[in-house]
Amino acid sequence: MMEPLLTARDLHLSFGASPALAGASVDVAPGEILALLGPSGSGKSTLLHCLAGILVPDSGEVGYRGIRLDRLSDDLRSELRRSDFGFVFQFGSLVPELSAVENVALPLRLAGHKRRTAEARALEWLERLEVGEVARKRAGEMSGGQGQRVAVARALVAGPRVVFADEPTGALDSLNGELVMDLLVGAAREQGTSIVLVTHEPRVAAYADREVVLRDGALALTVGA
């Protein structure tokens, strides 16, 4: 196995009295697609948020290319998220007031690109994800499947090293879910982007190179290389 891109070592994190993570450890290799499986409340999403530097664990280490994410300041983590990570969530991925193309252009504009160039590149990505026709529509005016594909475009547009996807197909029917996954995984593989995928659907997890099953905040089973 190559030098891992992302590592989590013995993470513990509690929300109030209830522990969400209890000693979870996992590695993500460059270009690898990793699925986090497990029942509700097993800590999948929390682990994803820790790996993405959105949450900081109470104890344990989170490393990204040799940087200790858990020791970075909030600002630096924000900066890392916008330069190196992409995100797709189940709901509300899109900023409702913005049109599809503006949503996709958001990471580029956060990175300091000019509005025009950002939107031009966003449009290319929308075409690539076969949702060019909704470019000028807002989140409320498109279907769930279109919305998630726009979200995928937004996750990938800035060329991240890792995309974090939290139940990206959770609100979609199986066919739309498959389309979103095909597009996400296809584009990620082309670019060598890693994906950390939280899902409870085995068919979605089957897109991954490796599945890890969480139970009670720790890893119960690892399947794959």
């Binding site: 085995p202 068919r203 997890a205 089957a206 599945e211 119960a220 089973l221 399947v223 794959g224």
Partner: protein, 174 residues
Amino acid sequence: MSVPLTLLGLLQVRPRHGYDLKRAYDAHFGHDRPLKPGQVYSTLGRLERDGFVVVSGTDRDGGPDRTTYAVTAEGVTDLDRWFAEPEGPAAYLQPVLFAKVVLALQSGRDAAQVLDAQRAEHLVAMRELTALKKDADLDRVLGLDFALFHLEADLRWLEHTAARLDRLGKELAR
């Protein structure tokens, strides 16, 4: 569904005679297709021939002779192998998986591990099928989807069973 291994597993829980074995089998696994009495004895005969079971005693309790069978060391090894190896992800796996879980619980083995091993097997199979779908023709894709949905159903059953192992163990112990 492997009747010989299931009977072997039941015998490992405790030595039984043929009728007792049939009743135990029917109670747990034979709701739809109970074992024929002849099938029990022929299977026991084959197991004895292969050295997996031995006659541990006969007793006459006012009725006909009853021969009690017990598992040999060789039989236990065979059972261990069976529990450890996940089933190939084929159709209609549920009865055998269920038998494995029940027997594992009754024989004091780690049923969760049995389930996890099976889960891993299924996930690998699904991953391979999903990979095949890429660049495949639609008729092939539809065939693969059929297999995938069935595997997914199995996996869901495995997850549900895993979540309820404690309760199952308690009910079996009653």
